[in-house]
Symmetry: C2
Subunit: 764 residues, 2 copies
């Protein structure tokens, strides 16, 4: 037995032994993830066979580093319920692939099976969770960790090793089509969710201790590749993959908590964008110094899809692009034709072998860590767990869907009385896909409870109508729909109307080589590469809104959306407005449960909700300049502030007090939350800090911590936040991390200020 | 005679001698510019007396450093044609002020008289030039230098020493109310204009040679204080004085040419904004290292109005604000209550005296340089030149007004036939102030030729009508105006319709302590502190446009505007569209002369003209990212590109060729411009470069040089641009200035590429 095959040896030893045995071509193969995984197989009935394309690629490299998207099913891949891999056969197919790779690798090196799982595995029969922009409204990292843990179990039972999960992008400009993939605008909250996702998927697989120094444990593990590093939501104009001209202080203050949050992840994906001109994929300062040296990241850095090809626009040659990316710290490619040609770069500069060895070692280390060498195949017993995992996931998903929705208006109409005649109207009533967001697999009909069906048990009678398409100018808009909707509303006691957008992809659409939409059509107005200049709802939707309003019936609008549209016309005339975002397959049921008071609405906004494109940006942590805050024609303030949201019960937050511990160097902030209403419910408490007395412009405020408390009606709870002094620093003019002279802490409308010189509370 | 009184000694020696004689309070007085100058006097008929407030302030300091706005007349100052200083009495009043200051200063130190002159002296009887955003369309730095020279003569005859002139701000976001004060978006063009302004105002007063080493010459001089340093147009959201989170590479590449352009200015004003958190007024890196050490600037740095007060928001105390600003390199205050309390900062830190001495020395050096000590008063013969100067200025202004306008549509209707019946309609026909822009003094009625009067000589008959107010919701909108306008148009052979905005200030408006509008009212929608979220024209203007269009008469729209409004509805239906910006008092005549073919339109856009707020930003030198260029609902491209503009003649640009001189390290680009039409005219030629083969993302393109050529009909001219290799560099990942591998030069549609390794031309 060679040392690398000895599972009692530290991973570092096994990696070094294996690396020393490899040819250059075998090494190049390990850092490549070139294939579209769904092209690896053909299906005939329930029979699967490997394609020649797949076999040729394995032969090219003498093995296979990683395989992306074996299970991916969606319009881009062309994989459907009919020709894709059913959940129940996933382990069989992944085992077949793995067996082939191992037996066609001279040294028996297995391949990483890599899958998209931004809000559920993008594969047939998988659970579709709310998109991040909805999840973020929960302020419930614990539940998000639980859902991640269930996703990890689901992926493990299928033979997947790495889950690609978006968490790092911030919503700075909602014109961006990928807004739905963000946890909102807050670095603090996003960092908390990112850590929850990593903890959920990986457990304590990687800790501060260096994993290379230990043998792999006996278990198979799932690793998560967090994306994207970094700053993608700051693209100029909200253009997807646009340029990011941010300064170092801004990047370090805003994105520092996010870089820190991925310390224990198995992997991270570099972002398409540049930062102040330097592409992230060629940014050694970012990928090596900040990520590894300063932040002690131990995992691998994956390229984004075809991002290395884009580097050739700069470098003028494939060899130079390979050289730049390898040197910067990109360890594993994605679909590009650059890392497939590392041999050219090596020919030009043989010293590049050191950088290649480093990258290969990181890929191999992850394979050892996740158990690929020691347990390369999914056992039948593990595969058999899948149905139970899916069942448990649906339960967790139902809870998360409820928590992901935020009520922003209620004039008393909610919760709705039961056993009324209810109209369920709107462009989202027809298709599940308009509820799911981007990166979504085809759904079997029985996976979906429509909003109409979800409302039915609560109502004496339900009618339903489409009313409108989502976007103006859709060719098959039919104005008879408006009449049908009006009739339906008129005959009912209350109307539930969905408005918003859709990230649905259709099988007749065209896609770029990285899977982004090339030419969006029909109703699709969100998702990757579908950026919008104007946040207004379409004229057709606004017509529908007015027509329904004119029936005089109580009107509840449910916004199904992947970005904040301009909801001012909706707030002006609806009796209640629920922001449901893209809530996943459990979304319609969650909407019904909230509207009929089966549960309370507990979500809170994770963005500063804008009024219009004209007032962007409005995120809460802009620097506190003595600026002209308002426009002549528009307020400069967001329509709704970060943290806004209504509940059926009433809350009072009181008795905020502070104490500072000079030994432990931290502040304890205590506050009492009282549920003074009639409903048991949960309340996200948000602790903000305002810094004053600084040598650079302080920010308006920053989020320091959040806590979701569940309190029965009529009861109260005292909560203590502990904030280390290190969380109260900013970067001064010399980029030193220093304390401001004053910090004002606030929860709700309660505030208290400390003077940091002696950490005493300031008397007002 | 003390050495400082000896005009044969080098300025440095005189400064040092004088400084050594001064008390601390006298020094503090020299760096203060606290008063609103117009409060220094009262007028009774033609008699002027100094106020007690002025005398008390001189007594406080034992002298006076600088006096801002003695001649300022406008709604903020409350100085009118009746109670302000007539041009003819300016020298008398400034001499009275100066005499008082000198005789109440122990050491006989005169005061700097400082005046606003962004587009003409903001004083009674002064010439009102086009605002910069119009001027920039001329691509004619020589004419701008000539106008500056005339302004300098005008100011000198009045006893002014320092002219405050905006040139450095870039138009990055047209929501900003101060867009009109910019020379557009191009750093290259703006730098050329800035140098023209400095050369025009100052001649060769300051050269690369250190002026301190020489005696002052025998003449009185005008110095120009260029504003603002730096980055103010990059404020987030287009908010006036908003925060600027730009990175170092972006700042150095975009603003580097501008910092370099002010090397020979007598002064520069710091900008309100921060850069990546550091306020410009507390930015030693900017005000001292970049400006002086790297750029060899020799003049003084002035604070912007009350900007030092704003620093106390950060610092928490006046003393700390004074300390930060003095240390950073702010030499002279403006209206703040910070530098008046430098004694508090000195008490806290006596070593600050060194920084104070440095600032005082700079103020004194400028006073010696400009001749204040040796010729403190305006002689009667110099004052008597004013009428001739004004006459010459009006001639230059008329030429500049023509060159400042850009024709963007002409379906053949222009030039208009003469001796027709012409309707002159639009909200700008009533008041000169809507044509002038911000920072404008009251105008005597005889200074103004209205558009109606300017058209009259060209037409057989003219009718005129207001048609509409500028902004929606103006309370006194009167829809009978619309009927009148329709009648007027219907009776005419052609219609000239003005649309756009206004920076007019009214005497019943409220102002902030820095003179910016506190609460804009009525038609005012541009100028300092009047930012707009939506670039659309008001509904009332669009109604007027449609009503006039429906008369079926040939329709020429003249856009009078201080920012680019959304002119898509105008371009769609008008027969011709002329962008006149705010063209100053010669504007209406220039419009008439262009429309009737008395002269050709030769202006070209100095901005990338946007379609809407939703697609911002659109400036041409964004980095070349592989982004999603278009929005789902809107093109990402500007409506009109930088450099666009039509002429009555036709132009062909051909025969571009390159040669590189390896010894002189420069490229000569030769191109031929042919006037193939029927009109003598002028053509601005724009030389762009595209860099490719870089290690950071290159920009889409950059402007390298411009040349305005005047060519008779049927003739041609060959032009050679010389571009030094140093103009072809960018900052790489290590902030080293390096050459790209390739540069593609283009003029018009002519392009050629050089490989920089050997500077050979690339074969296509």
């Amino acid at each position: 037995m060679a040392p690398y095959q000895n599972d009692t040896l530290p991973i570092r030893v096994r990696v070094q032994d294996l690396l020393a045995r490899m040819t250059t071509q075998e090494k190049i193969s390990q850092v490549n993830q070139h294939l579209y995984g769904w092209q690896s197989y053909t299906r005939h009935g329930s029979e699967f066979t490997l394609t020649d394309q797949f076999k040729a690629h394995v032969a090219w490299g003498g093995g296979l580093g990683a395989l992306y998207g074996l299970f991916r099913a969606d319009p881009w891949s062309g994989r459907t319920l009919e020709n894709g891999i059913p959940a129940a056969q996933s382990a069989t197919v992944s085992n077949m692939v793995q067996q082939y790779v191992i037996t066609h690798s001279r040294l028996g090196i297995p391949a990483l099976i890599v899958e998209e799982a931004p809000h559920g595995h993008q594969a047939l029969g998988a659970v579709s969770y709310p998109t991040n922009l909805g999840k973020s409204n929960s302020f419930d990292p614990a539940l998000i960790a639980q859902c991640a843990q269930l996703q990890a179990a689901e992926l493990a039972a299928k033979g997947v090793h790495l889950a690609l999960v978006s968490t790092l992008d911030l919503l700075k400009d909602p014109r961006w089509g990928r807004s739905e993939e963000t946890f909102g605008e807050s670095p603090t909250l996003t960092a908390a969710y990112t850590q929850a996702v990593i903890r959920g998927f990986q457990g304590d697989l990687i800790s501060d201790d260096c994993f290379l120094d230990h043998p792999a444990d006996a278990n198979r593990h799932i690793g998560v590749v967090i994306k994207h590093l970094i700053g993608q939501g700051d693209a100029l104009g909200g253009h997807n993959a646009g340029t990011v001209p941010l300064g170092e202080r801004e990047v370090r203050e805003v994105y520092g908590p996010l870089v820190a949050s991925i310390r224990h992840a198995v992997g991270v994906m570099a972002a398409y964008n540049d930062i102040d001109g330097v592409p992230c994929h060629a940014n050694r300062q970012l990928l090596t110094r900040w990520l590894r040296t300063a932040n002690h990241f131990q995992g691998l850095v994956m390229a984004d899809g075809t991002a290395l090809d884009r580097l050739t626009d700069l470098t003028g040659s494939v060899a130079a692009a390979a050289q730049q990316a390898l040197t910067a710290g990109v360890d594993l490619s994605l679909w590009d034709d650059v890392y497939t040609h590392i041999d050219q770069a090596l020919a030009a500069d043989p010293t590049l072998m050191t950088a290649l060895d480093t990258a290969v070692a990181r890929v191999l280390a992850v394979k050892f860590l996740l158990g690929l060498f020691d347990q390369p195949l999914v056992s039948p017993s593990e595969a058999a767990k899948l149905p139970k995992i899916i069942t448990a996931s649906h339960q967790a998903n139902a809870k998360l869907a409820v928590e992901s929705m935020t009520l922003v208006k209620n004039n008393g109409v909610l919760p709705l009385a039961r056993n009324q005649k209810v109209a369920v109207i709107g462009p989202h009533t027809a298709s599940i896909y308009d509820w799911l967001g981007d990166y979504t697999a085809p759904q079997a009909p029985d996976q979906f409870t429509s909003l109409t069906d979800a409302v039915r048990p609560y109502a004496s009678q339900v009618c339903t109508a489409l009313g409108s398409q989502l976007r103006v100018g859709v060719p098959d808009q039919d104005y008879r729909w408006l009449d049908e909707a009006e009739d339906c509303a008129s005959e009912s006691d209350a109307v539930i109307l969905t408005l918003g957008g859709s990230s649905a992809r259709a099988f007749d659409m065209h896609f770029l080589t990285n899977g982004a939409l090339a030419a969006p059509q029909g109703n699709t107005d969100t998702g990757e590469n579908v950026d919008l200049a104007d946040l207004s709802l379409s004229a057709d939707q606004l017509s529908l809104l007015r027509v329904i309003k004119n029936t005089g019936k109580p009107l509840i609008v449910v916004m199904v959306q992947g970005r904040p549209y301009d909801i001012r016309p909706v707030l002006a005339i609806a009796d209640a407005v629920l922001l449901a975002w893209y809530p996943g397959q459990a979304g319609p049921q969650a909407v019904a449960d909230i509207l009929f008071g089966q549960t309370t609405p507990t979500g809170r906004l994770a963005i500063s909700y804008p009024r219009s494109s004209g007032q962007l940006p409005v995120y809460y942590y802009q620097r506190h300049a003595a600026k002209n805050a308002d426009y002549l024609d528009e307020s400069g303030a967001p329509l709704l502030p970060f943290g806004a949201g209504l509940d059926y019960t009433t809350w009072i937050v009181h008795s905020l007090s502070l104490t500072h511990d000079l030994i432990e160097q931290r502040t304890a902030i205590t506050v009492t939350a009282a549920n003074t209403g009639q409903y048991d419910s949960s309340l996200p408490l948000l602790l903000f800090g305002r810094f004053r007395g600084t040598t650079v412009l302080p920010r308006e405020k920053q989020l320091l911590a959040t806590r979701r408390v569940t309190i029965p009606a009529g009861q109260k709870q005292t909560v203590t936040f502990t904030v280390p002094d290190t969380a109260l620093t900013y970067y001064d003019a010399h980029m030193r991390s220093v304390l401001p002279d004053q910090v004002t802490f606030s929860v709700g409308d309660q505030t208290q200020t400390i003077i940091t010189r002696y950490f005493h509370v300031k008397e007002n």
